[in-house]
């Protein structure tokens, strides 16, 4: 469990999408998220769906695996779809069930929202499926770098993110250990009323917090002992370099963008 958490949903691979610079992927997804709100007819949605599906196939990750990752959001998609059917009252009445009238506008709106949602989730999950959390962090750090001029703590933010990533599995292991220790003392986390279960979590959280603070203190001391003195005058080991693939993908995405704006009405 802890193992799957640190790498997030990352699936190792060597596809083009895997090899792209994290900044390329983040930029493209950023624009994708904005542009999807400009789609206004079937064809323009088709262009975006084509782009998303093409990206998905390029990752060479098993489709069934990707879909499994989307499982938790299916529910939300279907829920919003049904909500639209019930609430929106545009266009003509298509049919009615149990005195509920379903309008054509509601059907279109519902389908549109669901499609948008699905495409958004698909694209963002492709990022986490093909990029390790630490390279996403590197990418974000590098992209935020200009903000240093206005004294935005970019380096600190990135360090915080990477330390969190590093300690998540450690804290998960610890949680497991403490919960076993408490279970052996008769604390029951799994059965009983909600109120009792919440109460049972207290003896889990208190030791966890105490130990996390101790860790933080020791880590801070170890970092200082190793010469950490803020971001000033620091060099970086992890290096991001844009490759030819990145340029190629950028141009390709720009082309798709142009096509997209032609298909709009």
């Amino acid at each position: 469990m802890s193992n799957s958490f640190i790498i997030g949903q990352y699936v190792p691979g060597s596809s083009i999408v895997h090899r792209l610079d994290p900044r390329t992927k983040i930029t493209i997804i950023f624009f994708f998220v904005i542009i999807i709100f400009f789609a206004n007819n079937l064809l323009s949605y088709g262009v975006l769906a084509f782009f998303a599906l093409l990206s998905m196939f390029t990752t060479k990750i098993k489709i069934s695996y990707i879909l499994k990752g989307l499982k938790p959001v299916w529910f939300i998609v279907i829920f919003t779809f049904i909500l639209h059917l019930l609430v929106t009252k545009d266009g003509e009445v298509l049919f009615s069930i149990f005195s509920f009238e379903v309008y054509s506008g509601a059907l279109y709106k519902g389908l549109e929202i669901s499609l948008r949602f699905t495409l958004l989730i698909l694209m963002t999950s492709l990022l986490t499926l093909t990029t390790t959390p630490i390279s996403i962090t590197d990418g974000v750090e590098s992209m935020l770098n200009p903000l240093r001029k206005i004294h935005f703590p970019v380096h600190e933010l990135a360090l915080m993110m990477s330390i969190s990533l590093r300690f998540i599995p450690t804290l998960m292991q610890e949680t497991e250990k403490i919960s076993k220790a408490q279970a052996s003392r008769g604390v029951d986390f799994r059965t009983g009323k909600m109120k009792e279960r919440i109460k049972a979590v207290v003896p889990l959280l208190v030791p966890l917090f105490v130990s996390a603070f101790k860790r933080a203190e020791e880590l801070a001391m170890a970092m200082e002992a190793r010469g950490y003195n803020g971001g000033e005058g620091r060099t970086k080991f992890r290096e991001l370099k844009l490759q030819r693939v990145d340029a190629f993908i950028f141009i390709f995405s720009a082309l798709i963008l142009v096509v997209f704006f032609f298909t709009r009405v």
Binding site: I6, R226, N229
Partner: protein
């Protein structure tokens, strides 16, 4: 004058109104020397370690590292020269992977990337962890994490490495590999070593031992000289190694060994040559 590090009449307390954690502590460590510091819990060992690389500053007295007086202005230079390995393997692992962790110290000191790569290679090889480049800490054993911690310190090329109970949280096998690594480091690199420990068997590797008691230097000498103080050591709450206990029992039975043995081999040699020497 040629000492690598020197403590001159150091007094230190953590908070005002508390007792001194260190009282008039003076000692020095030479280039290339291995010094062990032992003492009961709370005798001030970790405090000494933290004073050595400027994590704490003394209220009275002066600490000198080569030609630098340790103070707010010199700590960054001091920390390049004095590296420290702590007790808890998890809480000193900063990077998300082994390479990142070794790189952390180098990044702090502004080492150019090209040089980082060779230094990381060399220091991981020095602790036999070169096969674990991209491992995350949760996929490593405690002993392996400590070896990475040693590599991280070595990468910065310090002249003194302090081990503050670096083996205390490891199993016997982990302890043995760390002690081997320390010996290997000492043989191959030009460094002084300070080991702080409760395990008196680890003391036998050192050139010199400083015994702390209630914030004072209680005794200073070679491991052999220290173990001769068998009864006094027990009085200040330290257990002597098995070998020392055997020779004390022999002594009480009227069998005097020629020289104080500090390990099993020496004891055996003493025993089997006991009659032939007479």
């Amino acid at each position: 004058m040629s000492s690598f590090i020197e403590f001159k009449h150091i007094h230190f307390k953590y908070q005002q109104g508390e007792d001194w954690a260190l009282k008039d502590v003076s000692f020095h460590i030479e280039d290339n020397e291995w010094v062990a510091i032992i003492g009961h819990n709370g005798s001030g060992k970790s405090t000494i370690a933290k004073l050595m690389n400027g994590l704490l500053f003394p209220q009275e007295g002066e600490i000198r590292v080569q030609d630098l007086v340790v103070n707010e202005e010199t700590i960054w230079d001091v920390r390049k020269k004095v590296g420290m390995v702590f007790q808890n393997p998890d809480n000193q692992f900063v990077g998300t992977t082994v390479v990142d962790d070794v790189a952390f110290g180098l990044e702090n000191h502004g080492i150019p990337r090209e040089e980082m790569i060779t230094r990381i290679d060399n220091s991981l090889r020095a602790v036999n962890m070169e096969d674990y480049y991209n491992h995350e800490p949760h996929r490593l054993s405690g002993g392996q994490k400590q070896r990475v911690a040693i590599a991280s310190v070595l990468a910065v090329a310090p002249e003194l490495v302090i081990f503050d109970e670096a083996t205390a949280m490891l199993d016997p096998k982990g302890r043995a590999t760390i002690m081997e690594t320390v010996q290997q480091v000492r043989e191959t690199k030009n460094v002084s070593i300070v080991t702080i420990t409760h395990d008196l068997n680890e003391v036998t590797f050192a050139d010199r031992v400083i015994v702390m008691n209630e914030g004072k230097v209680w005794f200073e000498g070679t491991p052999r000289e220290v173990f001769k103080q068998h009864e006094e050591l027990q009085k200040i709450g330290l257990d002597t190694p098995f070998v020392t206990q055997v020779s004390r029992v022999l002594e009480s039975k009227g069998i005097n060994l020629v020289k104080e043995p500090i390990n099993h081999k020496e004891l055996m040699d003493e025993l089997w040559t006991l009659y032939s020497i007479k």
